[in-house]
Symmetry: C2
Subunit: 138 residues, 2 copies
DNA sequence: GAGGGGTGGTTACTAAAAGAAACTAAATGA
DNA sequence: TCATTTAGTTTCTTTTAGTAACCACCCCTC
């Protein structure tokens, strides 16, 4: 056993910008960002404008309802623009705004990280599940 | 009105690593990453080891249950290490693993982005809510 | 020696969200 | 005539998230 850790004084490091605070506006944005679908949608739009059903087909498993909700939220937050074309049937195109592009630049690395580190994650999971004291080892 | 957009050919750009695919292992990780609490916990651990109740106090609004679940998941995925000390009462310390640190390096910018771009987001929300055709303008 | 507080959780209950499937409506193609 | 396309909405069911209470353990004060 190691010796007990230092208890306090590190909380001060998180005082400048309180994403940790419930009332902080940044927390409201995080609520939208902390959503796997939103992350995927943002990344899907990275290469240019995409139509509703194209996104739906590409992001395997997303429902129409959720996609509709996510897009509406992202549009409201100014990250995505919605453009309707007078075709028949109507064509709706979603694209990243300038703001959305600066965000997506930070979302991409996160998604790539998951892809690049799958072996380590898999190994960690196996090790964890194989541990005698793990909940998985019943 | 603009002219209709190009329909296909852009789907191929997303073919190399399919985070978009339901079965893809990276998608499973994304399911954990796409969680506001996980993002906050990872960021909270950035400055060094922290104890359970310290995280709980700092991350305003998180419940014990959720924190417990998130930490367990992050530990299983090999991003966080859990160390119990033989103090009384028992002290449990959570810290980022090397893997977790490479991830947190990408999570931080995302959180900072939210903090830095709040004015733009607020403005976009006001503009959206004030639009005559917006759902908020009933 | 009876409370009050701190440690790190788990368990039950409930409120909110996600997911599946059907439906809208107008027009095109078979 | 019927299926398909467009972009969604509506309804219903299942899953998840969150709230609150409780557990055991020990220290300290009163």
């Amino acid at each position: 056993m190691q010796k007990p850790p230092g208890t306090a004084a590190d909380a001060a490091l998180c005082a400048k910008f309180n994403v940790y605070d419930q009332g902080c506006p940044a927390r409201l944005v995080l609520d939208h960002l902390g959503d796997k679908w939103a992350l995927l949608v943002l990344d899907r739009l990275r290469h240019g404008p995409v139509r509703f059903n194209a996104i739906r087909r590409d992001i395997n498993g997303i429902s129409q309802k959720v996609l509709s909700q996510v897009l509406k939220r992202l549009e409201r937050d100014g990250m995505v623009s919605r453009t309707a074309f007078a075709t028949v049937p109507v064509t709706v195109e979603y694209a990243l705004t300038d703001l959305g592009q600066t965000l997506t630049a930070r979302v991409g690395p996160l998604l790539h990280w998951a892809e690049d580190n799958m072996p380590q994650i898999r190994a960690a999971q196996s090790a964890y599940d194989g541990r005698t004291d793990s909940p998985a080892a019943a």
